[in-house]
């Protein structure tokens, strides 16, 4: 089970993507184990990226999963996911997937391998981001900088107006 999660986490950096892939894996294994004729690719429910990931997933990883262990494995998997360290990032502008992946890699390289990102949008930040870690919120956005430099900005503005 640990190896399944580690394998999933290798190229999964965000929480939403992780949940999606775990769901996808669940669906795929259900199809195989219960001989369901549910084609995920055709339904248009899954993104190509995820499908590619699923297809590239090592067969040895999931061949030992039986109908008996299927439910327990995924139950444990979801429990393990809850215990992961989540870094919440508030972005001013929605970034493309590859950029988010880059950010995810950056975070894992510089901080902790087991960090998973939770990306949220907050356009009022204007630029940069705000971070929530261990329940503490810190603002590193342009809005915060304006707030900090308010006095200087106002003084400059008033001097300009005079």
């Amino acid at each position: 089970m640990d190896t399944i999660l580690d394998t999933i986490l290798t190229n999964t950096y965000t929480l939403s993507r992780l949940n999606k892939r775990v769901r996808l894996l669940n669906q795929s294994l259900s199809n195989k184990l219960y001989s369901a004729k549910f084609d995920l690719s055709k339904q248009g429910l899954v993104e190509k990226q995820d499908l590619d990931w699923l297809n590239n997933l090592e067969i040895g990883l999931i061949e030992n999963i039986t109908t008996d262990s299927f439910n327990s494995i995924f139950k444990d998997l979801s429990e393990r996911i809850k215990q992961l360290k989540i870094l919440v990032l508030y972005l001013a502008l929605e970034q493309p997937e590859d950029e988010i992946e880059n950010i995810g890699k950056y975070v894992r390289q510089n901080f902790n391998q087991n960090i998973i990102l939770d990306i949220k949008l907050d356009p009022s930040l204007l630029g940069g981001c705000a971070i929530v870690w261990n329940g503490i919120y810190r603002d590193y956005s342009i809005r915060k900088k304006i707030e900090e430099e308010k006095v200087t900005i106002l003084a400059t503005l008033k001097a300009f107006l005079k």
Partner: protein, 236 residues
């Protein structure tokens, strides 16, 4: 008064003689009765003696009567003399009494005039004392009234000064409070204006940056923020 002495003396002298006479007569009567009774029984020497005794008693009685009359006459004369003497003495006494009364009257008159004089003097002195006391009281009252007026004036002055100070203090306080209120209001208004300016600035920047900043710029800003977090050791 002298007229009463004469009859009194006569009465005094006549009374014992009368009593004596009465007793003798009674005795004689009893003797007579006895002798008559006894004479019938045995007329002898005893009755002779008895007759003699009776005769002697009668003579004695006559003599006493005579003496008594004499005494009465002499006493009447004496009483007259005594009366005259008494009258004279009484007149003398009356004169003396009159003189004494006159002297007493004169003395009393002198005393009365002396007393009235001294009383008048006393009244004069009293009048003078009263006047003096009245003047002194007036002076005291005047002084007291002046003192009261001065005290009142002083108190009034103090009260007015204190009132003035309090009024000035109260007005000062009010002024200060009003100025403070105005300053606070000014500061609040300026703060509000500043916040409005910042809000407008943020709005403007959000519009401008959305148009001017590329995705790469935004990504760079994110990396910059993560770098800052690393420096601050926020993410461990």
């Amino acid at each position: 008064m002298p007229e009463l002495y004469g009859p009194k003396i006569i009465l005094i002298l006549a009374l014992p003689l009368g009593i004596l006479l009465f007793i003798l007569i009674r005795k004689l009567i009893t003797v007579k009765i006895y002798t008559s009774s006894k004479q019938e029984e045995a007329p002898d020497e005893k009755t002779l003696v008895f007759h003699q005794a009776i005769q002697k008693a009668q003579t004695i009685l006559g003599e006493t009567q005579f003496q008594g009359n004499k005494i009465v006459e002499s006493s009447g004369l004496q009483t007259q003399k005594i009366e005259e003497k008494l009258n004279q003495e009484i007149d003398r006494d009356i004169k003396k009494l009159d003189e004494f009364n006159q002297k007493q009257q004169q003395f009393l008159e002198a005393q009365v005039s002396k007393a009235s004089k001294s009383y008048e003097e006393y009244l004069d002195d009293l009048r003078k004392l009263i006047n003096q006391a009245q003047q002194d009281n007036q002076q005291v009252v005047r002084a007291k009234v002046n003192e009261i007026f001065e005290g009142f004036e002083q108190n009034l002055t103090d009260f007015l000064t204190r009132t003035q100070e309090r009024s000035v203090q109260a007005v000062d306080l009010e002024l200060r409070a009003s100025r403070q209120l105005i300053d606070t209001y000014k500061l609040e208004q300026i703060k509000l204006i500043d916040e409005n300016i910042i809000a407008m600035l943020e709005k403007t920047l959000s519009i401008v940056l959305n148009k001017k900043l590329t995705l790469k710029d935004h990504a760079d800003l994110v990396y910059e923020a993560l770098e800052k977090a690393k420096v601050e050791k926020f993410i461990i």
